[in-house]
């Protein structure tokens, strides 16, 4: 496998008891990309991230991160991957100084100057206890801990879910800085789509434990169209393009399609649609029986 793939999953599955939290997940995320993992609660986002950082082991299939197995090559891989878990748990009784010391003691590649500089820029006193910090400040400290080990890949599980809009913006700015300055590859899960579009260039839609759509956001936006026309048969369209959602109102039919090339049919009116609507269409669509995800590149290359 090539070095330019940061995260690669092949038929990846994880079962807890009788339930598959993640099933048959196949995807490749290029190095240097910023990937958004979206989907409703229980879609498998956390499971995928925990498999990628080695916190859990797959039931089926394989996952490789930076060319290594997170489970078998933990020793070699851990210094290269930063992870911020959901609710960004930190040791609440620690001070910020002690939290940074933990980072220094447990990470060979720890960049103490960077960590201190970031904490200073956030205006947080080193002697303050984690328990006394606001949610946004805790998230920033957790992110600092993950970034100061100088990872090549940063995995963030719902990093902004509990943050207010200002803290959310600051947090995402920090991530963008790290991406532009250090070329860090980022995978973050969220269900707030508006934020993601500003930060991410890749999108993975998970639903019911399966990856419904994997691809670059530009390609996804370029290839998805809303077709409206007189109420009628959509079969002809479906023969060429993938119909994601079909709805009928009165005399009108509207189709959300992943276009296979241009849509030339003059009976349909073409509309561009935004990412949120595409995501929602896929999540509604995820309940019907569509098997493996189709790589978007195929649909988008015209």
């Amino acid at each position: 496998m090539s070095e330019s793939i940061a995260l690669e999953a092949d038929g990846l599955g994880k079962r807890y008891g009788a339930n598959w939290a993640l099933r048959d997940c196949t995807l490749e995320l290029p190095a240097g990309s910023v990937t958004a993992l979206v989907g409703p609660n229980g879609a498998g986002k956390t499971t995928l991230l925990q498999l990628a950082c080695g916190l859990s082991s797959p039931t089926a299939g394989t996952v490789r991160v930076l060319g290594l197995s997170p489970q078998e090559d933990a020793h070699a891989l851990l210094p290269r991957v930063g992870f911020v878990a959901q609710e960004h748990p930190l040791h609440r009784s620690f001070t910020i100084r002690e939290t940074l010391k933990l980072g220094r003691k447990l990470n060979p590649g720890w960049d103490d100057a960077y960590a201190r500089e970031r904490i200073e820029r956030l205006g947080l006193p080193l002697g303050k206890r984690i328990a006394k910090l606001s949610g946004g400040q805790q998230a920033q400290v957790a992110l600092t801990l993950a970034l100061a080990k100088r990872p090549e890949l940063l995995l963030l599980d719902e990093p902004v879910a509990s943050l207010d809009p200002v803290a959310r913006r600051e947090f995402l700015n920090t991530i963008m800085e790290a991406v532009s300055e250090d070329g860090v590859t980022v995978v973050l899960s969220s269900h707030i789509i508006a934020d993601l579009q500003r930060v991410c260039d890749q999108l993975v839609i998970l639903s019911g434990g399966r990856a419904e759509l994997v691809g670059s956001i530009d390609d996804i936006l370029a290839s998805h169209r809303l077709l409206t026309g007189a109420r009628g048969d959509a079969e002809e369209v479906a023969r060429v393009h993938a119909v994601i959602r079909e709805s009928h109102t009165g005399r009108q039919t509207s189709l959300l399609v992943r276009a296979n090339g241009h849509v030339y049919d003059s009976r349909w009116e073409l509309h561009e649609i935004d990412l949120e609507e595409i995501v929602l269409a896929y999540l509604g669509y995820g309940r019907s029986a569509e098997p493996a995800p189709v790589p978007i590149e195929e649909a988008a290359s015209r």
Binding site: K14, Y16, Q50, C53, G54, L55, S56, S57, A74, H75, L78, P79, V81, G82, F83, A85, E87, P89, L90, H91, R92, S93, F94, E98, K101, L102, G103, K105, L106, N107, P108, G109, A142, L145, A146, K149
Partner: protein, 315 residues
């Protein structure tokens, strides 16, 4: 990892130090008092098998003064296990709060994290046990001279068993906590299991480690030499043909304030046999060794189980 483990266990270590300090605050003054009473009353001269009447009086006085304190302090035998259970808390709390995920996604492996944390808990537990044993053993020295150290109230807080008790408490709470991932239930399971295990060994198992000595001797004659300071498991008196009879106390009546012993009753009943089942004092270290091995190996198995379970189980 050492610093991290230490920082995460700091509170519990300080509580342990606090418990030992409280213990020392109680034991040091009373122990000094007891030792000086022992010397002042010349009890060292009374240790022979045939003590004079004044010696018996002195020993009785000494017992009257310190026995209640001694039986109170026998309860401290629960302390090593409590310390062990307490030291399991940092590990279990991290599983409960999910902060192990933070540690596991730094650059050290899970295995190293587990061994670092459990290793420190074990080291602190053993150090606390050592201080506990030294303190109680020093405190009891005069009483041990007089009464020996085979009785459970003494045996349980001396020698090597204390270390095994501590690890047993630690292992129970760790194993329960690794499976349950909740600190409070783990501590409850730890304490209940510890108490039950100790009672079981004290009252049933210990006397089966080595087959006890069974001896019979004439009630009017001297007891066997190894009966002195022995741990008496059972003892009864019989008449000449071996029928059990009431102990000598049956011959004691009272008229007013004076206790009297009926001589004819003694004449009738006193000339029989004493039967006893006991572990001689010479077996102290053998019994200590076996009990240490029993609790120690159970503790080790529990700690290993907690480590393996935590390492294997998915996040």
């Amino acid at each position: 990892m050492t610093w991290v483990a230490w920082r995460q266990q700091r509170t519990e270590t300080l509580i342990t130090v606090g418990i030992l300090a409280l213990l020392a605050a109680l034991l040091l003054p009373t122990g000094l008092d007891m030792a000086s009473t022992y010397h002042r009353n010349g009890l060292a001269a009374c240790l022979g098998p045939s003590a004079s009447l004044s010696c018996r009086q002195a020993i009785d006085d000494f017992g009257a003064r310190f026995d209640s304190l001694n039986s109170l302090i026998a309860w401290f035998t629960l302390v090593p296990g409590l310390i062990g259970i307490l030291l399991a808390a940092p590990f279990v709390l991290q599983l409960e709060h999910g902060t192990y995920r933070l540690d596991w996604t730094q650059s050290i492996t899970r295995r190293r994290w587990i061994s670092g944390k459990l290793g420190l808990a074990i080291v602190v537990g053993l150090a606390a046990s050592l201080l506990f044993t030294l303190l109680t053993t020093w405190w009891r020295t005069p009483l041990v001279h007089l009464e020996g150290r085979m009785d459970a109230s003494v045996f349980d807080s001396e020698g090597t068993v204390v270390f095994a008790y501590t690890l047993f408490g630690l292992g129970l709470a760790l194993a329960a906590g690794a499976v349950w991932r909740r600190a409070v239930p783990a501590l409850i399971v730890g304490f209940t299991g510890y108490f039950a295990g100790r009672v079981f060994v004290d009252t049933w198992l210990r006397q089966r480690f080595i087959a006890p000595v069974r001896a019979t001797w004439s009630a009017s004659g001297p007891s066997p030499a190894n009966y002195r300071h022995a741990w008496v498991i059972s003892e009864y008196r019989s008449d000449k043909v071996g029928h059990p009879i009431a102990p000598l106390g049956a011959c004691t009546g009272s008229t007013g304030a004076k206790r009297i012993i009926d001589p004819s009753c003694i004449m009738e009943k006193g000339t029989g046999y004493m039967h006893a089942v006991y572990e001689p004092a010479s077996r102290f270290w053998a019994l200590q060794g076996i009990e240490t091995a029993v609790f120690g190996s159970v503790a080790l198995a529990l700690i290993l189980f907690a480590a393996v379970w935590t390492n294997r189980r998915a996040a």
